[in-house]
Symmetry: C2
Subunit: 332 residues, 2 copies
């Protein structure tokens, strides 16, 4: 079983076919960076069209059991998430509405301060806000997973502590392996994984040691060390694959409508766009390379199978359904 | 089993308790008359709050099987619908989005011309529009039932013919029993029921012979005659109960934002508000009276059970799930 904990490609039939070639059973895809509720609805609609157009390649994922259906029918189940809480605007009631529409992950911040928490690019992290505490409780209730990939350390640790259900860092790597601002320090990963949460390893070159030149061996050794430190069962892949996106999209991701000035995020004025992927992970066809690389580190077969997909599967199974199942048959 | 095919009360704990007292297992409730998509979302949110506040009395209904859950747990399953297509605005993609949120019925018109069809108060009925044909197809695909309660004759007959799945008139009576503009002529009822569709009998006094003074006997005799004409299996109740609504709401229903002048609809300048209900059907506690009244007409036990709820149950079971079940496990 192969599950990718985060992708944001410029979707096309080509990529849907590559998902099948790579044997990817499920992906969590980003459908909002800075979108309002209404704009996010249009992104759900866009995916609904793709599900209709490519019924043999992809299907909408709502529950872990949809991954079983996808496997039985040779398709990829697509689960939705947001990298910012902008889709809920200032209305806690939209948490349940968006979960009903299929949202399964929501980051409390994307780099900046949000209404809920502090992003990893702010100079001071004041932790989870008043509204943030309410929204975490509501996300727990309906089954929308708290994702802290782009949040500050303090906010992330507080979210892990406040949340009654495990949270996730869907796409980041350990900071001590590659000291990018977006990568996570030991205490942060520990706070998440100790409480049943998940860390998805990113293949976005800015998160890699040596960036685009990172070797498969270095990446897999890093994962093997993380398995020693945090337990292999809390680890997965969250490739952050942004395949075929034009540079205008990286600009939308980084700047949205919040600034008139360019913010280069993890890039720079000289490298403003998406950096090239490492040769051993060009796109979804290369999940086999990851699996082979993990095996070569000495991780056992169960650990490798867990990291490649079964850990995400179990996490989806436990965390997407409403907390109080009474009568909510849609999810149970 | 008791199912009401349409209500629009001013919801409160009192009414939820009366639903339980009346043994009502499921209701279809209106959550939009003239609301935009965004406004309709707020109405879904309002219900989500009630489901949280009154978990022992009510639960959200998505599929027919939720009625089984409601019965097992002593609650009423609440299904959602719109009396106008205003929630989809001019965007066919919103049909699936709203079905995902739980919409199960949508009228193609509310009295006036809409983007889809002609309302029963227009002077000329031009039938189903170009967009209307597309939307009917999409409603069929996702499992959103076409409701023609407030549509013109030609539009209703065309909708019944165009729709690949049975349609409904959730709340109206035969025109030859009570010649209100909203009641339905024989050819219209026939077009709907011949194709597996349903007629829900209304208890709104303007739709009754003798209005508020209508007798239980007259009402039930009318149903028994309709069973002879159209087959008892196509009949149900759609009480149109508007309990506890202030007159300002009847004005919103009739005028929305489409006119600055008062339109009295089925009322008049001298009787602008909601007329009093007949004494034998004050509210949800009186479903037993209906059942007794139907038995007294000579309809057999199966026919009465069908009209009181089982016919709607079977209709819900067949028509709320997506047409192509492939991978859509939410509905299957």
């Amino acid at each position: 079983m192969r599950i990718d904990g985060l992708q944001y490609a410029n979707w096309s039939e080509k990529i849907f076919r590559q998902l099948r070639e790579g044997g990817v059973d499920a992906i969590h895809v980003t459908i909002a960076y800075h979108e309002s509720f209404r704009e996010t609805v249009l992104n759900f609609e866009k995916w609904n069209r793709w599900f209709e157009q490519f019924p043999d390649l992809i299907m909408k994922g709502r529950w872990a059991r949809d991954i079983d259906v996808a496997r039985e029918t040779g398709r990829t189940a697509v689960f939705f998430g947001f990298q910012n809480p902008s889709p809920i605007e200032d209305d806690i009631g939209l948490v349940e509405v968006l979960h009903d529409l299929g949202a399964r992950f929501m980051q409390l911040t994307y780099n900046n301060q949000s209404l809920l928490a502090t992003g990893c690019y702010e100079s001071y992290d004041a932790g989870i806000t008043r509204m943030g505490k309410q929204v975490i409780k509501e996300m727990n209730r309906v089954g929308l997973v708290v994702d802290m990939s782009h949040s500050g350390d303090r906010s992330t640790i507080e979210a892990a502590e406040l949340s009654e259900r495990p949270i996730a860092i869907t796409h980041a790597n350990p900071h001590d392996w590659a000291p990018a601002l977006r990568n996570k320090r030991d205490a942060v990963i520990r706070a998440v994984t100790e409480r049943g949460g998940m860390l998805g390893f990113s293949l976005y070159p800015h998160h890699l040691k040596g960036k685009s030149d990172c070797t498969l061996e270095s990446f897999c050794e890093m994962i093997a060390r993380a398995a020693d430190s945090y337990g292999a069962e809390h680890l997965g892949i969250g490739s952050d694959l942004c395949q075929d996106q034009p540079d205008s999209v990286v600009e939308w991701m980084r700047v949205g409508r919040w600034s008139k000035e360019i913010d280069y995020g993890e890039g720079s004025a000289s490298l403003p766009g998406f950096p090239p992927m490492p040769g051993w992970f060009r796109d979804n066809r290369d999940f086999g390379n990851l699996e082979n690389g993990l095996r070569a580190t000495g991780l056992n077969a169960d650990e490798v199978a867990g990291i490649m997909g079964q850990n995400w599967y179990r996490f989806f199974e436990r965390n997407f359904t409403p907390q109080q199942a009474g009568g909510m048959t849609g999810g149970t």
